[in-house]
Symmetry: C2
Subunit: 308 residues, 2 copies
């Protein structure tokens, strides 16, 4: 009968010129605000420490690497971990990770309530493209600056709850939730940076994209009987609008809390993880109802093959 | 640039005493109504020819088999196929199939606009249970009366459109849509019989169940950039309420048409299948973005395994 008050720390825009220290100070302010409201587990956005730099086309690797963290915690982020530990709030946030071997990932970490890192995730579903695309309304160069995550989808038990992480575009793929659901996940944390306008079709704006974002997170929650917390970096960043729409979803697919604006904002909900059991033992009792003998294409075949 | 006017023939209740001939006459009336409105492809519910008999616990196999069709078309249904061919309307409907070998499936067929069967599907995800369960508000004995489908998820090209079928509970499983999406599906037909109250939890009523039904079909459509038409048998059948909520969903996940009531009712929408290309070539370009090396659990493991 585990309950936790889960919060989402939606963040307003981070401009190119903003230092890590400035951003971490904002994150600590959000943490304190959340803790004062009883939050025990707080989720921040994807790439929470910087502007969403994959919108910028860069050819100088040193310029690219300036957006990455070489260790975590590091001097700029240590105050956040320390304050979280003092307040007893578990946290998860995203950042650009540069490994000692020189590999680049779009990553996130999960801590326990002592502020210690217990899990790391590296984004599997990188959207966008590698080269400059002049026909796009804006660039989305994640495939240029990151490798696809090499760790897969994992879960950790934290405060008694089975937690998994995903990042941004991962949330649109039902495989993400299912890989976690097959490990009994009860809380999926998802940070995102989502442009308010589709780079391929500028008529697809904020309202439609908020609908899609909520659709995939609510269905992922329902179909795996898990809580989902999705947290945006929002507002106008370097002249480019990012949508908000941070939500906390219950294991029945219903939205418990939703951000109102596009700035720094805490949403929260008390999550009773015993409620995951109903779906997991009835309509989504995987052991009773899944038929893996007919799912072969899902893992055998990457792209669509039309042969009729 | 293929367009078709797609319809859903929602059906009101069919009582235990209603003959096949009576039901087929209703189906022909719906067909004629749809054709008069320009419908070129019409989808009927699951088990469209009879009451939803899996709500009844039976031990006499002859009594069970009376609900099954031994051939398709058969004398009772032939007038429907003939009239569909005359009107040039492709159809799909569900029925209980008893094979010459004595096997039982929850099946559906697909015809071309000449009224000829071009495809058959056998329901993969059977919900419910095998034995009588006294704690349930109502029985749901699909696992007793049917074998799981043995044909998998297939597509057929019909009037230029790549079509696939699923039945009722299949719609709640993202694997269903993905197996079809990996074959380039552009229209998924889904018939269903869904009790208005959850047999495991009577506080879960019509409103919540309509939300779930729409959630899974809209997300399945969006995540695979396909049209989906979901068609209910609805109303109070033998004293048990079935929900309606028939919908036609576009490849962007938006509902184009929705049934208003719980009786016999046509819904329709012009579907421009060229609109499937946008999602299939951008955000859901599977070849570019899927990462099957991390999806192994989906096909390797039926049930959830919690090892943290």
């Amino acid at each position: 009968m585990t309950k936790l008050v889960v919060g989402g720390a939606q963040m307003g825009p981070i401009q190119k010129a903003d230092s890590r220290e400035l951003v971490v100070a904002r994150m600590i302010a959000l943490l304190e605000q959340a803790a004062a409201q009883g939050v025990q587990m707080l989720v921040y956005p994807e790439l929470a420490l910087t502007t969403f730099f994959p919108r910028w086309y860069m050819t100088d690797q040193a310029e690219v690497d300036a957006w990455f963290e070489r260790e975590m915690p590091n001097p700029a982020t240590l105050p956040l971990f320390r304050r979280a530990g003092e307040l007893g709030v578990a946290i998860s946030f995203g950042y650009a990770e540069l490994t000692p071997e020189g590999r680049h990932f779009n990553s996130s970490i999960l801590t326990n309530r002592a502020g210690e890192i217990i899990g790391k995730y590296r984004k599997v579903h990188l959207p966008g493209h590698v080269e400059y695309q002049p026909t796009r309304g804006q660039q989305h160069l994640e495939k240029r600056y990151f490798e696809p995550g090499d760790l897969g989808f994992n879960v950790w038990r934290n405060e008694g709850v089975v937690m998994g992480m995903a990042i941004c575009n991962d949330r649109r793929w039902p495989e993400t939730y299912r890989c976690l659901g097959l490990q009994g996940v009860e809380l999926v944390t998802i940070g995102y940076n989502t442009p308010s306008v589709n780079g391929h079709m500028k008529s697809e704006g904020r309202e439609e994209r908020l609908y899609h974002s909520e659709l995939v997170m609510t269905s992922g929650a329902y179909q795996n009987a898990t809580y989902v917390v999705g947290v945006a970096k929002a507002g106008v960043e370097d002249g480019y609008p990012l949508m908000g729409g941070s939500i906390i979803v219950d294991p029945n697919g219903f939205v418990l809390a939703r951000a109102a604006g596009e700035g720094d904002e805490i949403i929260l909900a008390e999550c009773d993880f015993a409620k995951c059991a109903f779906g997991k033992t009835t309509i989504f009792n995987f052991a009773e109802h899944r038929r893996i003998e007919h799912y072969g294409r899902i893992t055998a075949q990457t792209g669509a093959v039309v042969d009729v």
